[in-house]
Symmetry: C2
Subunit: 331 residues, 2 copies
Amino acid sequence: MAHSTVYDVAHKAGVSIATVSRVVNSPEKVNLETRTKVLQAIDQLGYVPKAEAAARARKSAGRIAVLAPFFTYPSFVQRLRGVANALAHLPYEMTVYNVDNTARRDSYVTSLSLTRRFDGLILMALPFTQVTVERLVNNSIETVSIEVTHPSFSSIEIDDHAGGRLAADFLIRKGHKRLGFIGDTDLPDLAFPTSDRRLTGYRAAVRDAGLELDPLNISLAAQSLQNGRHSMHALMSQPHPPTAVFCASDTQAMGALKAAHELYLNVPRDVAIVGFDDLDFADYIGLTTIRQHLEESGRLAVELLLSRLENRARPIKNVRLTLEVIERETT
Amino acid sequence: MAHSTVYDVAHKAGVSIATVSRVVNSPEKVNLETRTKVLQAIDQLGYVPKAEAAARARKSAGRIAVLAPFFTYPSFVQRLRGVANALAHLPYEMTVYNVDNTARRDSYVTSLSLTRRFDGLILMALPFTQVTVERLVNNSIETVSIEVTHPSFSSIEIDDHAGGRLAADFLIRKGHKRLGFIGDTDLPDLAFPTSDRRLTGYRAAVRDAGLELDPLNISLAAQSLQNGRHSMHALMSQPHPPTAVFCASDTQAMGALKAAHELYLNVPRDVAIVGFDDLDFADYIGLTTIRQHLEESGRLAVELLLSRLENRARPIKNVRLTLEVIERETT
DNA sequence: TGCTTACATGAAAGCACTTACAAGTATAAC
DNA sequence: GTTATACTTGTAAGTGCTTTCATGTAAGCA
């Protein structure tokens, strides 16, 4: 009963595949008797010509593709939730492509847009080359980029640099003088280096305040709870540990918090911790953090995409989402 | 430049059509130099592969579909991570369908399976009707179901009932006599009622121990941190609050923990809390929980699926994953 | 230096159909 | 009883693309 082909039908009806094809495409060319026989076989086998099915679906793919590095990072998940919710009652499905190695990334966008069928593309924190851009534009694939801006696309970005400053200014205003930082090792090329940018802004603000960011107080590792914890242990076991640590993500901050407890440090008395993202759980562990509107970014990406999909004449928009310090119990 | 084909591109780039195809579909397999040459030719000719022809020639769709209710629940995300990782270096992409209402659930399976847009299907915690089963079987769509078992499919399940017992036995052994439960309101039809089953097992074990589960000590609500918190507040503000609470998910347990802190209750002295899932963060908040192997379940689902995809003659497998109590600081 | 291994590539065999072409049969016309 | 004509139908040659297989070449190693 599986998916049958012209061959199956032909065999069952005792005719050639050409006849089957004719019955489907120009029935008047085939004798009534034969035609009936073939139609019967078609019904019995539940035969659906593939091309036709494809053609029917061709109007619109009804799919929007989302490319994200490490889509299981909480921050990406939260963005995805925004995308999924926005798409929930629309005739579009979402395909998530997980970009997890550099080799793949380079060509992924290219080959995807050429090979796969979808109506729109959402790029999450993926840097791209000019060639990629041109290819997407040439194939008129409507694209929205989150975190990375480009004049050819609609985009949604946050000012990571300003986010870093925000954290530093906040901590300095609280009286801290020895500041630390826990961030991502940059995976060159793979994902957009938000952590680096946050660090740059952080450092700039520290300098502006006449302070210095000791390289020993900076620890970088791949983003994870475990690494956040290790980084914190490393920072705090120095002769002159920082009195406040800014983490490039809430995940790392959570790991840092764990480490602080393990070291019997009182947070925020002994050391203050600031995260970044304001994930769901941040509120629940009382984490002070820089809020970026993750779910909203996903929702907005869909909105921008669909708006252009409906009417290509609409202008490309580059939206910048605001950041804010959410003060809780870790500072 | 009308419609160019692989042949045109191949000719212009001085390579074979096979190489052109490879550049489009798996660029990493072709030498950078050659690739550049071909891409140049592609750009110059404005070549766009005909999806229809590709679909015809491609034996498999190269897609596996994952249907999940509320895919942004942490437990589903963790399963998805297992799926994504298992698929990472295989020629399959993953499409996540978020099922958020019953109507959609049925239509997905129907329409998607009819157009045969994917090779395999993973159903996460989705109950299905016999009609659906038949449709899938008729269209010979290889399916693996997680959490729900059916003789026609491979499946991966856990014994929720036993999980509930495990939690109760553990708490009773710790000396608790007034037990509480925080679980999901069942969304009839939409998702598999794991929470209910855990409650049933929990209650049974409590009875077996000669105790009683007071209905006032049970609070059900849609799964979320907020609701977990509210439920805990409700339970603990009674005249006879429980001394231990089992939550049907770690998310709810985290909310409950938050509530306990807000009420200045010492955990575990005043009230013990046990979760379910053992999510990433459980270890970090010291949550005692019933561990189920989420990521592994995703990995395994892919394994079962691919095994049957390679060779349909292989038997259908119904795997039961074990559960265990992970004792931490909340009990 | 000879031998194994990995990589890059082209030839060729599909895929699921469509369609031009030719052949066979029945009917009509002489 | 031929021959012309209209119908049917099967054969086989495309269609544009993917992928296996085999071969040639470059690199690794003792």
